[in-house]
């Protein structure tokens, strides 16, 4: 991190934010009075709202691009406010997209929606458990309930790289990703409605391109993932092309593919348990 420390308290670099000097001045005043008595404060010193917003900026920009593609995909079926509302209430990528497919599938049911959302988003529970051991003591039940929506793959990774996470820092961290995700969807869905057909046709593969960009690098660094992905693709093709299986609706097909492939991969190639620091350094 680009900050110095003083008596164990992180100081912001003055070139980072125009208000950093003010922040540091307040810390110096505080230190002057209380440093020897309250060492606990040191951990939370760089956990300000502004710092969270700063750390969340790259995530927000990335989310804008991904959710733009989601907006394009959604605009084929729903008007733009309805597509945007999905993003504003869910803040998930794969889960939302599967949900959109189930919504627009004539054979889709509410049970199917619940099950698909459950299995695809189950990993957030795991992240929530890890994160709950990282948060500061003032992260109460109500704050947890309100801020839980911010637990996404990327925000989780950044949070786990911190020593301890305060509610105000976490709120700052999720601010720009949330705005990026919602506004990206709105812009994408509006573009999908007004752009010429040839362009939206091409943009229709953008989301799949991003999925490829998430899966392939993992296959490069972790060979067993290739096995898991191969099974998932083989099953998914079977559901599409084998006549006897093609009566299975989209949502259940995704659930079955993902469950079987992940269970087999976990049985044959269990991953080493990560330490307390999670995936991020």
């Amino acid at each position: 991190m680009s900050s110095r420390t003083c008596c164990g308290i992180a100081l912001h670099d003055s070139n980072g934010s125009p208000f950093a000097w003010l922040y540091n001045l307040r810390i110096f005043k505080y230190l002057h009075k209380t440093c020897p008595k309250r060492p606990k404060f040191a951990i939370f010193a760089r956990m300000s709202y502004t710092q969270g917003v700063k750390d969340g900026l790259p995530i927000g920009l990335g989310y804008f691009a991904v959710s733009f593609s989601f907006g394009i995909a959604g605009s084929n079926f729903l008007s733009w406010p309805l597509v945007t509302l999905i993003s504003m209430t869910n803040l998930t990528s794969a889960g939302q997209f599967a949900g959109l497919q189930i919504m627009t599938d004539a054979a889709g049911t509410f049970i199917e929606m619940a099950l698909a959302t459950f299995f695809i988003n189950l990993r957030y529970s795991l992240m929530a458990i890890s994160l709950s051991q990282k948060v500061s003591p003032d992260f109460g039940t109500v704050k947890r309930l309100l801020l839980a929506t911010g637990i996404t793959d990327e925000i989780f990774a950044v949070s786990m790289a911190q020593k301890s996470v305060t509610p105000i820092y976490f709120l700052g961290l999720m601010t720009l990703p949330y705005i990026g995700w919602s506004s990206g969807t709105a812009v994408g869905a509006i573009c999908g409605e007004i752009l010429p057909a040839m362009v939206t046709n091409a943009l229709g593969v953008a989301l799949y391109g991003m999925f490829v960009a998430i899966v392939v690098p993992q296959m490069k660094v972790h060979k067993p993932t290739i096995f898991a992905v191969a099974i998932a693709i083989a099953l998914s093709c079977a559901f599409k092309f084998v006549p006897a299986l093609s009566c299975v609706s989209v949502g259940f097909a995704i659930i079955i593919c993902a469950l079987v492939a992940s269970l087999l991969a976990a049985a044959f190639f269990p991953m080493k348990l990560e330490d307390d620091e999670g995936g991020a350094k």
Binding site: V66, A148, I151, M198, V216, L235, A266
Partner: protein, 107 residues
């Protein structure tokens, strides 16, 4: 392909409700670590298997012709193997569709 408002709202509530449940309940209640190697491996594999099952074969049907869809997949995989990031890979696959569409128009 439009769905009526009531169906949309129920779908939305189910989706958002289940997602919030999955995030909030363990965040509030569980303070212990998941010890099982099998289940944590399973959960680590889930995003990748879900994404690949959703991408193939659906990408072939995402455009007007199967050829452009297949080209988009190949372009995306190659771009990703070469180290392209999310946005680059997505842009490359879109350009592949536009390019092949253009070629098909000319021919």
């Amino acid at each position: 392909m439009n769905i009526d408002a009531r169906t949309y709202v129920i779908y939305l509530l189910v989706m958002a409700g289940v997602t919030l449940f999955l995030r909030a309940v363990p965040f509030i209640l569980l303070r212990k670590k998941l010890k099982s190697v099998f289940w944590s491996s399973f959960l680590a594999y889930v995003p990748y298997t879900v994404l690949s099952a959703m991408t193939v074969p659906a990408i072939f049907f995402a455009t007007d012709s199967r050829i452009t869809g297949a080209c988009a997949l190949v372009a995306a995989v190659v771009a990703s193997l070469l180290g392209g990031g999310l946005v680059t890979v997505a842009a490359v696959s879109c350009l592949a569709v536009l390019g092949v569409d253009g070629l098909l128009l000319v021919l």
